[in-house]
Symmetry: C2
Subunit: 255 residues, 2 copies
């Protein structure tokens, strides 16, 4: 249960550490990797991905992370997103390429089975290799999402308008659940779509789809009137135009 940290190890030393940390060896130069917690490496490498799309990344120094759930991440020194990755459930192995007597590359290979995709990270030099074995049972506690907007409206329906009566949360339609389904003070059916941030035309289309689906479902029995209300902090101009064209309404509400 001790972390292993190597500074500027040779490719062979790196391979041996990965080998020592895991009993299942494929061949003398191929080693399955199962991280206990995380394996973190920083080194000079080249990256190739082949799958639904394909990509290549020329040599450079970057950070590679292998997680215990099979996630693989490659981070350059900018941006929030990994330049290449493999999602959870992938399997990892290390391959030591030898030319004559000398190891030339240490390849970390990550394979995803469905869809079949392969990620190859070929190291020429390794500046840092660490096998980290910490404990982490904690789970994130998040508030301020769309769900909490809905909770607030259910508790205080006149945030939408005076006399609004919510009936059903997440009411099912063929195109997905309506956020809040209710009636206004006159008895008209009201479909509410919530967004936690400024909305564009896509949200208007989404609301329209729900209304059309419900209208088709219910209007055959009774001749009800339908209103659609988009609830968000703000709305773009083009979305406002579309909204008015479609006879829908907007209510401003912060998350």
């Amino acid at each position: 249960m001790k972390n292993e940290i190597l500074q500027n190890p040779s490719l062979e030393e790196s391979f041996d550490l990965l080998k020592r940390d895991n009993p299942e060896t494929f061949f003398h130069n191929r080693q399955r990797i199962r991280a206990r917690s995380m394996i973190v490496s920083f080194g000079y490498c080249q990256v190739d991905y082949e799958g639904r799309a394909s990509s290549s990344l020329d040599f450079g120094d970057r950070l590679v992370i292998l997680k215990k759930d099979g996630t693989a991440l490659i981070h350059q020194n900018e941006k929030r997103e990994p330049v290449n990755w493999q999602p959870p459930g992938s399997s990892h192995e290390a391959i030591l390429k030898v030319e004559g007597e000398e190891p030339t590359d240490l390849i970390l290979r990550s394979v995803r089975s469905n869809p079949f995709e392969v990620l190859d990270i070929a190291f020429r030099e390794i500046h840092l290799l660490s096998i980290l074995k910490g404990e982490d049972e904690a789970q994130l506690n998040l508030s301020g999402s769309e769900k909490s907007m809905g909770n607030r409206i259910m508790k205080q329906p006149d945030l939408i308008e005076q006399g609004f009566i919510p009936i059903e949360r997440e009411k099912k339609t063929p195109f997905g659940p309506v956020d809040i389904f209710g009636k206004d003070y006159e008895g008209n059916i009201v479909v509410v779509e919530l967004k936690r941030r400024r909305v564009g035309p896509d949200a208007v289309s989404q609301l329209k789809r729900y209304i059309n689906a419900l209208r088709k479902e219910e209007s055959e029995t009774k001749g009800e009137n339908f209103r659609g209300i988009l609830v968000a902090p703000s709305i773009t101009d083009s979305a406002k135009d579309l909204l008015e064209e479609e006879g829908l309404e907007f209510v401003s509400l912060n998350p």
Copy 2:
């Protein structure tokens, strides 16, 4: 230009390393951080985020990455996504909290100015602290995206249908650019929307919005006929229903 790597440093040693690596000190116990390439740390910490939403994460061992562009990432031992983060452009500092004589916490604070959001990472123990200074000029070369589908169709228009004539790529509408705008063998106007993966109802709505916008723009001058074609590897059932209702068409094409 040498990497600095500490294994199981004290909070004070960690703070001193960060201090040594950067000349601008705010106070004796507050230190601005500007990573040359990346700062990578693994330790026992608690995380709080307050901004558009807010979150808290109880103590556990996790990986923290600070990048030179101001990105901050916190990774647990599962999933592709960071549990907390700050996007590029944020500013980082280290704060050593002292109770009596003893340091109790090393806080890495990341602040984003617009919108104003603060991320606090409070370390109790540090298992690994590394200041990494590699070089990476390489850029990702990706193929197989939506753009390449468009290129293929422009070169070989009958992938859409016999006699299709593309006229304009990315033609502007008030709701965004139409992927391919053209005519069929009868002279009807054709609006093509490309998707590199299986499409749902949102793509149908998107295509319909474009057609409506173009129809409004052009039909006043001439009485043209409009066709909308969704091009993707496949389509979901509900999207197919919606598509037929709207009088639109589907062509299957792999990316």
